[in-house]
């Protein structure tokens, strides 16, 4: 579907995803420079901007990692341009070192730093609340509640950032970034800026204390602007309320819906706060005086809750006693994603209301039928995925080796190596590049009796992002392990974004491709390249490399992501099962392909007691023909496509 966010149609209402709304907000604010590293739920912000970059004459790049993204964007700011950097919550940890210094030096052109947090860890290894960064770096924080808010806030965040001379953080969450909603467009910025660095000044953190003092003055200025911000509002009875809800993000919409479901709109006030750091204290004080009972609603950490409680401690002599409900009181869980029902039950508990969404009989019947009938659905590599084949070879090589070897994992689709789809080969996963760093450590434990071989697996994009420093560390410190780079030619997990090894940049230009093998060779290690689909040869290669007991060995397993392959050229084979040859469950097979290899394209036919191919799912990679002990899975060249 064609991207509409570049349309210059003021007042038109479009169906936009939160991330598109953020991108549109930046365009309306006159952003010139956009940079990002892919990570769900943030990736579509950059994808959207990149898709209109050429037409609207803005610069858009996929950076090698989040820190570099912010550094590059800062250059634009120092030269007087507006810049936006977007990332998922993990990226905030990566940028933090630079950011805490940048906040002291201050900026020129407005910089908006977007973090898309992932409550519930829907597409993440954690559900970190990245709002902490606003307090650590002493910079303002805005939190939209829905896509329209996201557009409006992003646009305003640039003005705010430029007015006070600080980076401004916009915090989205999955339920905004990946939600489509009605969004009314404003006008695109017509302002043209010229980039120039003013050499009469210098931008740095010295003298530190003085700069820190100035930073707090900037925060005070932000606070002043927040006092009258239209992103903060109150709805509900003007007085005599039983409870005041203070909500930010989508929690505001959940609270509003919960009040309607419980018919409480006449008894409970709802305070929406969009400017969550620094707190608009006077505005808050006015509302805190409305009522003695306060409920906080926000996703993941009690950020607002703690800060408002701390602020209230200062003004309590004036206002008297308050009872606070929220994560601290146990009415809202301090983990997992919010939803309207959590709010409904919290309110019902506080206000002693009996609530049932549907009659008990129906609910009981539904629960009974589902528990009787519905099997769980586990995650799996796509049909044709090179990672399934790679982990198959890794598994076999480690088994053959028989020294209890294991895989130190990393971030990407191949993280799923922790599950049966990757034959449970991956034994630890943490942050980008950390699998390599940890392998570097395991590789030095041999003097303590550690005699297990270690394989570190890292994807191509992750290798560029954070895999190089730990690899250099391992080489320098003579650590002993096998580094396998699973090169599928894309940042697949987040939607096939290009990276330095792909030869394409964010806007689709052909650029120099950085060859991973050459980079590793230049670091002085031996490098081999294997094809994951050649499972026998590749397993033999892995085994052989495991026997070499000195230093880092690098094996690049190179094969294009199956989804990309399917889209671009398709697969060469039509696969079928020769029923005569298939021995199914009997001794000699025991459903090896369906039970052990577990590609979703292979189906165990309960009635025939044979394997068959699911023609809707099978893509025709042909790898399974290699594993059948009876040669019953047959592949034929498919001339159809």
């Amino acid at each position: 579907m064609k991207n509409k966010i570049g349309l210059d149609r003021v007042g038109e209402t479009l169906l936009l995803m939160g991330n598109e709304a953020i991108a549109r907000g930046a365009l309306e604010a006159g952003v010139s420079f956009c940079s990002s590293y892919p990570g769900n739920p943030s990736s579509e912000i950059m994808e959207t901007l990149a898709s209109v970059a050429r037409d609207l004459n803005i610069y858009a790049e996929w950076s090698v990692n989040e820190k570099v993204a912010l550094e590059a964007a800062t250059a634009a700011s120092f030269a007087g341009l507006r810049a936006m950097v977007s990332m998922k919550q993990n990226g905030i940890n990566v940028v933090s070192d630079f950011l805490v210094n940048l906040s002291l030096s201050g900026i020129k052109g407005g910089i908006v730093l977007v973090t898309c947090d992932d409550p519930g860890g829907i597409s993440s290894t954690n559900e970190e609340d990245a709002r902490f960064i606003a307090q650590v770096a002493d910079i303002p924080l805005l939190e939209p509640a829905h896509p329209q808010d996201a557009l409006d806030m992003t646009r305003w965040a640039f003005d705010l950032s430029e007015t006070i001379g600080s980076v401004c953080v916009l915090r989205s969450i999955s339920r905004i970034s990946h939600t489509r909603g009605s969004v009314t467009l404003g006008s695109l910025s017509r302002k043209k800026r010229t980039a120039h660095f003013d050499t009469s000044i210098s931008l740095h953190a010295f003298p530190v204390t003085e700069k820190h003092k100035i930073l707090h003055q900037k925060l005070a200025k932000a606070r002043e602007l927040f006092e009258t911000s239209s992103f903060n509002s109150y709805e509900g009875p003007p007085d005599d309320i039983d409870l005041l809800i203070i909500a930010c993000g989508t929690g505001f919409l959940y609270a509003r819906e919960a009040l309607e479901l419980l018919d409480l709109t006449g008894r409970v006030g709802l305070l929406k706060i969009g400017t969550t750091w620094p707190l608009p204290e006077e505005w808050l004080e006015n509302h805190l005086s409305r009522c003695e009972r306060i409920l906080f609603v926000e996703d993941v950490d009690p950020f607002l809750e703690r800060n408002i409680k701390a602020f209230f401690a200062q003004i309590s002599p004036k206002l008297g006693v308050r009872t606070f409900y929220g994560k601290g009181s146990g009415h809202i869980p301090p983990f997992g994603e919010l939803n309207p029902d959590i709010l409904v039950y919290a309110l019902a508990r506080i206000l002693d209301i009996d609530y049932k969404p549907e009659d008990r009989d129906y609910v009981n019947k539904a629960e009974a039928l589902v528990s009787e009938l519905v099997p769980p659905r586990e995650f799996g590599f796509c049909p044709g995925c090179p990672h399934r084949a790679s982990f198959w070879s890794i598994k076999n090589a480690l088994k053959w080796d028989d020294r209890d070897g294991f895989v130190s994992g990393d971030i990407g689709c191949y993280t799923m190596g922790i599950w049966p789809t990757g034959f449970n080969q991956v034994k630890s996963v943490h942050a980008m590049g950390s699998g390599v760093g940890m392998a570097s450590g395991y590789g030095k434990l041999y003097t303590y009796g550690f005699n297990q071989p270690v394989i570190s697996v890292v994807g191509d994009s992750t290798f560029f992002h954070a895999g190089l420093p730990p690899l250099i560390n391992a080489i320098y410190n003579q650590a002993n392990f096998l580094l396998i780079i699973l090169d599928n030619g894309a940042t697949a997990m987040t939607g096939f974004q290009p990276h330095p090894g792909t030869g394409v940049n964010a806007i689709g230009d052909r650029v120099q491709s950085l060859d991973i093998a050459s980079i590793c060779r230049a670091l002085g290690v031996s490098v081999e390249v294997a094809d994951p689909y050649e499972i026998k040869d590749t397993a033999n290669t892995i085994y052989r490399l495991l026997q070499e007991r000195t230093g880092v060995r690098v094996l690049i397993m190179k094969r294009k992501c199956a989804l990309v392959q399917k889209r671009e050229e398709g697969f060469p084979y039509r696969v079928r099962v020769d029923e005569e040859r298939c021995v199914g469950d009997s001794c000699g097979c025991n459903r090896f392909c369906t039970r052990v290899f577990r590609c979703p394209g292979l189906i165990w036919d309960q009635e025939k007691k044979k394997t068959r191919i699911d023609e809707v799912i099978c893509v025709g990679c042909g790898v399974c023909t290699e594993i059948c002990p009876e040669g019953a899975i047959v592949r034929e060249k498919d001339n159809h496509e």
Binding site: M1, K2, T13, L14, L15, N40, P41, D118, I122, S123, H146, S174, R175, H178, T179, R180, G181, S182, T250, L253, Y254, R256, E257, A258, P340, D341, P357, E358, D359, Y362, K365, A366, E367, L369, V370, E372, L373, V374, P375, P376, R377, E378, F379, G380, F381, C382, C413, P420, T421, R591, T594, R595, R598, P600, L602, W604, D614, E615, V616, I617
Partner: protein, 203 residues
């Protein structure tokens, strides 16, 4: 609309075209001046897991991205057991369900560790839990057209035919060309009509 917001859920398995279906509906409705919120759950779910879109339609406000428990009006499911999984949380006595009869087997089923329930049992359970069930061989229809992936468009046709949400054939015809490649436009319209037909027969 009988309710505001009107709550529709589209569910299925990653890769079935769930998100595209919800987006087509959203584009249709927004063209009619309605306000729409579509909350989508994906991420890792794309890799064989369950996916779900909450489509909420309003004449006035901004609905939240998550439908409260038991408050869905219509569930469209691209896969039988995903329909059951969803109705357990969001269903009620008055719900209508439009369900593709073709299973996508979970890996555990493929591996023979767990069993997939008999389709007849799933259908009966769904009938028991809904006011009205449309059990549609959408994938089979789509395979006949040569593209299994078009099962989502078949179900969109079915949804339009029920008249349960303000979505008509002409709305879909307007939006489809923006979404599908021009080469497959005609096939998609056929898929849409076959979906509508399937519902007409059932009614």
């Amino acid at each position: 609309m009988n309710s505001d917001p009107l709550n529709l859920i589209i569910t299925g398995v990653g890769g079935q075209g769930n998100v595209l279906a919800s987006r087509i509906i959203g584009e249709c409705l927004i063209k009619k001046g309605l306000r729409v919120t579509i909350g989508e759950t994906y991420g890792l779910s794309q890799r064989g897991g369950s996916v779900m879109s909450h489509v909420r339609i309003s004449e006035k406000g901004t609905p939240g991205p998550i439908i409260p428990r038991c408050k869905a009006h219509v569930i469209v499911s691209l896969e039988p057991i995903e329909a059951l999984r969803t109705v357990k949380i969001y269903g009620n006595r008055n719900i209508t369900m439009i369900v593709n009869s073709r299973p996508v087997y979970p890996l555990g089923v493929i591996a023979g560790e767990i069993t997939y329930p008999e389709p007849a049992k799933v259908r009966k359970a769904l009938e028991e839990l809904s006011l009205k069930l449309f059990w549609i061989p959408a994938t089979e229809i789509a395979i006949r057209l040569g593209h299994a992936i078009m099962s989502n468009v078949v179900l969109l046709g079915a949804l339009a035919a029920t008249g349960l949400i303000p979505l008509e054939r002409k709305d879909l015809l307007e939006v489809l060309p923006e979404v599908v490649p021009s080469s497959s436009k005609e096939l998609n319209v056929t898929a849409l009509d076959l979906g509508m037909e399937a519902v007409a027969i059932t009614i």
